[in-house]
Every structure is written in structure tokens, then in C-alpha cells.
């Protein structure tokens, strides 16, 4: 997956649900066993920033 943008997902109460929306398509869990979350961690380590939820 080539990451372009990452945004937190909140529930209707405004609480973070431990998932991120990547490229407006992929719902990625905050779970280090998930290979896409590993890619997010690498993307952040490269200096990119996760956006807050809408």
C-alpha cells in the first residue's frame, strides 16, 4: 500500500475507535500485527502526520 494520507476514525461520540482511514479507502486497525498499520508507523517515522478525525 502506498500511503498518501491517514486520518483517525472517531465514533459518533467523538471517541477514537483505534482505526485509521488511509487514502479515504482502507480502514486500518491500530494493531502492530496488522501489516498496513506497520506501514503507517513507517510512514509516520518518515516525518508524515496523521490527521485528526473530521
Amino acid at each position: 500500500m502506498i500511503i498518501e494520507k491517514v486520518k483517525k476514525i472517531n465514533n459518533s461520540e467523538g471517541e477514537f475507535i483505534n482505526h485509521y482511514l488511509v487514502n479515504d479507502k482502507y480502514n486500518v486497525p491500530k494493531d502492530e500485527a496488522n501489516r498496513d498499520y506497520q506501514s503507517i508507523l513507517a510512514w509516520v517515522a518518515d516525518g508524515n502526520t496523521i490527521q485528526e478525525a473530521d
Binding site: 500500500m1 502506498i2 476514525i9 465514533n11 459518533s12 475507535i17 482505526h19 482511514l21 479515504d24 479507502k25 482502507y26 480502514n27 486500518v28 486497525p29 494493531d31 500485527a33 496488522n34 501489516r35 498496513d36
Partner: protein, 386 residues
């Protein structure tokens, strides 16, 4: 009356005889989808090259590359109707077709087919202990290029690896190969759901992986020893490489002592693959296709028709290896979307699909207020691959 010989010593100790006996009678095969019967994502994908996703077609078997190879490939789930693999019970194979050749490899270029294991499925190899077992990898293979090919085991937990070779004797002819790897008394596989072991069948390898002496005993990572002698199978667009009947056994076997391939039913095979990937799109239908076949329809809004928020929970038939990455699609091929259905009246596609929660076992999707509807329609993929 003749008496059978009884192994009293092993009856008393409970030890398994240390010979070429089948160690895992009645167990399911360690390699999932080794007969290449399952291909949920697609049956053929073109343009595989530098930067491509690993898993694109066959379940559990992926395309991997190092460096920036310029070769391009089509991966296909191939139906077999003849040949030695077919007459030995294999009706499907993974085929790699070179569509853009790379005759001259950059030093850091390499391409391969890869299979990844969870550590908790490998404990029976007793790796990292004094009782460590050998690994026997067997498979049917057909390659246009004759000569030496390399297959590698890479221990991701301990950054250790070992390579073996097989030789293609006759071009474009199915041959059965048995490769034995030594036991490793160093480095335990983690007893968890993380990636512990990769099996890589090299298709090409630049000098960064070939300039040393092949690593035929387990050792720490030394790239120059990983694929020494590998022929370049990507140097001509006429070249193909095929594989099926992949099995991994505990201990050392030869072609004459190898246990039979453990064929599973299609349903059992599919269920084991679904631990890693699941979709509502029908087998043979491209992910994201414009179709309602297989689509989930929520049970309807208990309050009747509404233009407000609606939600739907789904429990996976097979719990995933870990919490998966989930993608929603509507009936028209839009991703990140679902359709709000007003039954008997209209279907409004391309409405925002928002994940409300997810785990290894289930998810909930919601649709914010929009067009009047009484249920939701959506496809999904759930990916928990290693």
C-alpha cells in the same frame, strides 16, 4: 501364528521414532492453499513489478521484490489439464508470466514468490532448541529456464536464513522437487500470530544476493549468500514459471519417503485462507467490480424508512489472524462507499461508509444521514495477511 514386532521401548517412553515416519498423521497441511485452488482476490493480475502489493491473486502466495526491478509479470491461477502435476492430482497452479523482460539486473534487484508463516504454527519444528527438526519442502514446478533455482527459508524473528537449490532439468516440463533444509538450534520462533518464517522461491536475483557462497546452513543475515546460482527467469518475455503441490514437512524426507500431499476439500481450504483474507465478491469476480452478486444487505431499519444514520454489524465466519484492514465497496464499484437502499423504490449508491468498530471477529459499518432508506448494501474485503 506370527507375531508382529512391537516397538516396546517407544511405547514405554512415548517417543516418536526418529526416522522417516509421518510425524503429523491426520493433521492439516502446514502450507495453506498449496494446491493453488483458492484465488479470492483475482484469477489473473497484470503488471506486477517494483512496488506492487504482495497479495494480488492466489491466496497465501504473494509476489515480492527487492530493489527496483523493471521486469513485469502477470500472476495467474492456472487450470491444469495435462502434465505430471495434473496426473498427480493438481488441477490448479500459480503461473508467473514475464511480460516485460529484464536481462540485466541491478545489483539490488530480486523477484520472488513468497509464503509467510505465523510462528504459532511452527512450534513443532522446535527451532532454537536442542531437539530442532529439519524442514522438508516439496513442490511441483515448471520453468522455461533450466538450471539452478534457489528457495530460501528466512526466520523473521531472529533474522536468520538458509537456502536450498533445485534444478530444472527440462524446459517447460512439470518436475517434482524435494528440498531439505537443516535444523536450527538457534533462534526460537515466537509462539504468536506474528510473521515468523518466509519461504521465498527466487525468480531473479542481482549480485547483492549472489556474490557470496550459498548459505546452506542456518546463519545470521548475509544478503550476498541468499540466492547464489539463481538463474534469471525474467530475462525474456517467453519465460514462465509455475508452481503447485507445495508441502512443508517436519523432518527429513526424500522423494520416495515423502508423505503424500494432504488434499483438503475446497471448503476447508477456503476457510483456512479466510483467516487471512475474506471478501463478499464471488470467486472469479474482481475486487471492486460493479455487481450486487454476493452483496450484504442489512436486515432493514427497525424504525422503518429513514434519512438518518444507519448501521450494520457483521461477524466473520472465520476469525481473522489479527484485526484486519477493511475496505467497503458499493454495488457500483465505488470504494469507501455503500448504497442506501429503499427497498422496492430506489438504490442510492456511492454513499459514505464509515467504520464504527472492528476486531478479529467482527465489524460495524455506519452510514450517516442521507437519502431515505430502509437498509444498507455493501461489499467488503477484510485483509489480515502477514
Amino acid at each position: 501364528m506370527a507375531l508382529s514386532k512391537i516397538d516396546v521401548a517407544n511405547m514405554l517412553t512415548g517417543l516418536v521414532p526418529n526416522d522417516n515416519t509421518i510425524r503429523r498423521p491426520n493433521a492439516k497441511p502446514l502450507i495453506i492453499n498449496g494446491d493453488m485452488a483458492i484465488s479470492q482476490r483475482a484469477t489473473s493480475v497484470t503488471g506486477l513489478t517494483n512496488g506492487s502489493d504482495v497479495y494480488v491473486a492466489l491466496d497465501r502466495f504473494g509476489f515480492n521484490e527487492f530493489g527496483s526491478p523493471s521486469s513485469q509479470h502477470t500472476m495467474t491461477q492456472e487450470s491444469l489439464t495435462s502434465g505430471n502435476a495434473y496426473i498427480n492430482g493438481f488441477a490448479n497452479a500459480l503461473k508467473m508470466d514475464v511480460t516485460t523482460a529484464q536481462g540485466s539486473l541491478d545489483a539490488d534487484d530480486a523477484t520472488m514468490i513468497i509464503y509467510k508463516f505465523e510462528g504459532q504454527d511452527l512450534q513443532l519444528f522446535k527451532k532454537g532448541t536442542a531437539n530442532a527438526e529439519k524442514f522438508t519442502l516439496a513442490f511441483w514446478v515448471k520453468s522455461t529456464k533450466t538450471g539452478t533455482h534457489v528457495v530460501e527459508l528466512f526466520d523473521k524473528d531472529n533474522t536468520r536464513h538458509v537456502s536450498g537449490t533445485y534444478s530444472i532439468s527440462t524446459t517447460n516440463t512439470w518436475e517434482h522437487k524435494v528440498v531439505v533444509f537443516p535444523a536450527d538450534t538457534t533462534g526460537v520462533f515466537g509462539d504468536d500470530n506474528a510473521r515468523s518464517l518466509d519461504v521465498s522461491w527466487f525468480l531473479s536475483a542481482g549480485t547483492n544476493y549472489t556474490s557470496g557462497t550459498l548459505q546452506t546452513s542456518w546463519g545470521g543475515q548475509a544478503d550476498t549468500t541468499r540466492a547464489v546460482g539463481q538463474v534469471n527467469t525474467v530475462d525474456n518475455t517467453s519465460n514462465n514459471w509455475h508452481i503447485t503441490g507445495v508441502q512443508l514437512e517436519v523432518g527429513e524426507f526424500t522423494s520416495s519417503t515423502l508423505p503424500p500431499f494432504q488434499h483438503e476439500s475446497f471448503g476447508d481450504n477456503l476457510a483456512r485462507c479466510q483467516r487471512y483474507f475474506e471478501t463478499t465478491f464471488e470467486v472469479g469476480t474482481a475486487i471492486g467490480a460493479s455487481t450486487s452478486t454476493g452483496i450484504i444487505r442489512s436486515g432493514g431499519n427497525q424504525g422503518g424508512r429513514t434519512s438518518g444514520r444507519m448501521g450494520h454489524g457483521f461477524t466473520y465466519p472465520v476469525p481473522k489472524r489479527s484485526a484486519p484492514t477493511v475496505v467497503f465497496y458499493d454495488n457500483s464499484g465505488n470504494s469507501g462507499a455503500l448504497a442506501r437502499l429503499d427497498q422496492g423504490s430506489s438504490t442510492a449508491s456511492n454513499k459514505n461508509a464509515t467504520l464504527a468498530g472492528g476486531s478479529q471477529k467482527s465489524f460495524e459499518v455506519t452510514s450517516t444521514g442521507d437519502s431515505t432508506a430502509d437498509c444498507l448494501n455493501y461489499h467488503f474485503t477484510a485483509d489480515a495477511e502477514l
